[in-house]
Subunit: 135 residues, 4 copies
C-alpha cells in the first residue's frame, strides 16, 4: 500500500482560470513526498546542504486529467522506485475525493544524489534506499 497524503486545495494553489495552477500541482506532490519521508523518520532538512550530499530533482512530468478547485479534498499517493544506486523516481497520483473519487493527475519526479562540492554522483544513503524499497 503506498503512502497517501490528504490535503485541501487552498486559494493560494489556484489561478485566475479558477483551478489549481499547473505548476502548483508539482508542489502538492512534493509536500506529499516530504510527508512520506517524515513518516519514515527521515528529515528533508538533512538533504538541504547541511553536508555534501544533495538530492536534486533531475526530471519531472505531469499529466492533468481533471481540474482541481479551491476547497476540493485530494489524496496524493506516493510510490518510490529505485532507478540506479544513485537515483530514484517517485510516482504520484492525485485523486479528487467525492462521490465517486476521480483521478485528477499523475505526476513523476526523478531524483539524483550528488556531491555538492565535486558535482559528481553519489550513492543514495541506506535509509533512503530502505524507504524507496517499501514503494
Amino acid at each position: 500500500m503506498p503512502f497517501v497524503h490528504s490535503r485541501t486545495i487552498r486559494l493560494a494553489d489556484t489561478d485566475a482560470a479558477g483551478v489549481v495552477f499547473f505548476a502548483r500541482t508539482y508542489a502538492l506532490c512534493h509536500e506529499a513526498y516530504e510527508e512520506a519521508l517524515a513518516q519514515a523518520g527521515m528529515d528533508l532538512k538533512g538533504f538541504l546542504g547541511s553536508d555534501d550530499l544533495i538530492i536534486p530533482i533531475a526530471k519531472s512530468s505531469a499529466e492533468y486529467l481533471r481540474p482541481l478547485h479551491c476547497g476540493d479534498r485530494v489524496a496524493i499517493s506516493v510510490k518510490p522506485s529505485l532507478l540506479t544506486p544513485h537515483s530514484f523516481a517517485v510516482d504520484y497520483e492525485i485523486t479528487r475525493l467525492g462521490r465517486p473519487d476521480k483521478l485528477a493527475a499523475r505526476v513523476r519526479t526523478e531524483h539524483v544524489a550528488s556531491s555538492l562540492a565535486k558535482r559528481e554522483r553519489l550513492k543514495l544513503p541506506p535509509s533512503l534506499v530502505a524507504w524507496i524499497q517499501t514503494g
Copy 2:
C-alpha cells in the same frame, strides 16, 4: 478558544535564506482562515464571484518574531472580530511547536464585503457574522 490550524512547513514555503519567505506567511494564515470557515460549514468558493458579493482583503500586516524552517510544525490560531457591518478583521498567531513552543509571527487581515457589479460596500452575510462573533 480560537480555532487552530496545524501545519508542517514545506520546502515550497521557504526561500534561499533557508526560512519561510515573508510573503508566504500570509498564505499560511489564509489557509488557516479557509480551514476555519470550512469547519464552520462555510465555503470560500461561495465568496469567489459565484454571485455579486465579494469579500476582498483591504489590508494586511505581519510581525515576524522567529524564522520558520522546512519541517517545522506550526499551529496557527484564527481570531475574527467585527469591525463594521461591512467589514471584519482576522488576527492570527503562528506558533512554532517544540519544547518549548515559541510565537513565530503575528498576522492580521481586514476584509470588506463589496458588490462586484456596483463596487459599493455590502452588508456581511449573516452566516459569516455568526462565525465572526465566535471569535
Copy 3:
C-alpha cells in the same frame, strides 16, 4: 528565431536548498509563454473563461540540467508546435546567462482546447494557430 523572454531569478523563486524550486521552473516558462502571446497581440485573459473556450495544460515535463540561484539572469526561449487541430505543444529552454551561457533546463507543456460547457475538444482559434505556426 524563437521568442525569448529575459528574467532575473528572484528570492521568491527559490527554496531552502538555495536554488529555484523545481515546480517554480514551470511558472517561469509560463511567464515566457504569456509574454510571447502578448507580443503576438493575444491576451491570455481571453482564454480564461470569458467565453466557452478554455485551453488548459494537459501535460508538462521538465529536465533540470543546472541549478538557478537568486540574482541569476536567464533567457527563456519559447517554441510552439501544432500537435492536432485541437492541441499544441510549447518547448522552452532556460539558459543561464554568463560567461559562457549555460543551458539550465528544458521544459515542455501541451495544451488542449476544450469547451467549458460541454467538456469536449474544440478547434484552436485561428489567431493562436497563426502564432503556433511561427514557432
Copy 4:
C-alpha cells in the same frame, strides 16, 4: 525620484478570485526591492547567509486599493528610509498603468540587520546605508 520597477501581472500571481492573491502582492514588491538593490550595485545573495550578517524582514503591511488582473502592467516604486543604525523601511506604491494610471496598493516592509551566530542586532553595512539615503 524613487526607483521604479515595471512588471506584467502573470497567471501565477493570480488566484481563483481572478485577481492577484493578496500575499503575492508582497512578492511583487520584494522583486522591485531586489531590482533596486541590483541597480545600485548590490547583490541580495550577499545578504543570504554567505557570512554572519542577515537582514530579515521584521514587519510588513499592505493596503489594497484596486484589484490587479492577469496581463495588467504595473509600476512599483521603491522608497527606502533609515529607521535606526540597525534597521530601515521600504515603502512601495503599486500603480496599475492605463488611461489613467491608478494606485492599486501601498506596501511597507521593515528590515533589521542581525548577526546569524549571536542573534543580536548589527549595524547596517555602509553600502546599504548609502542606498537607503538615496530614498
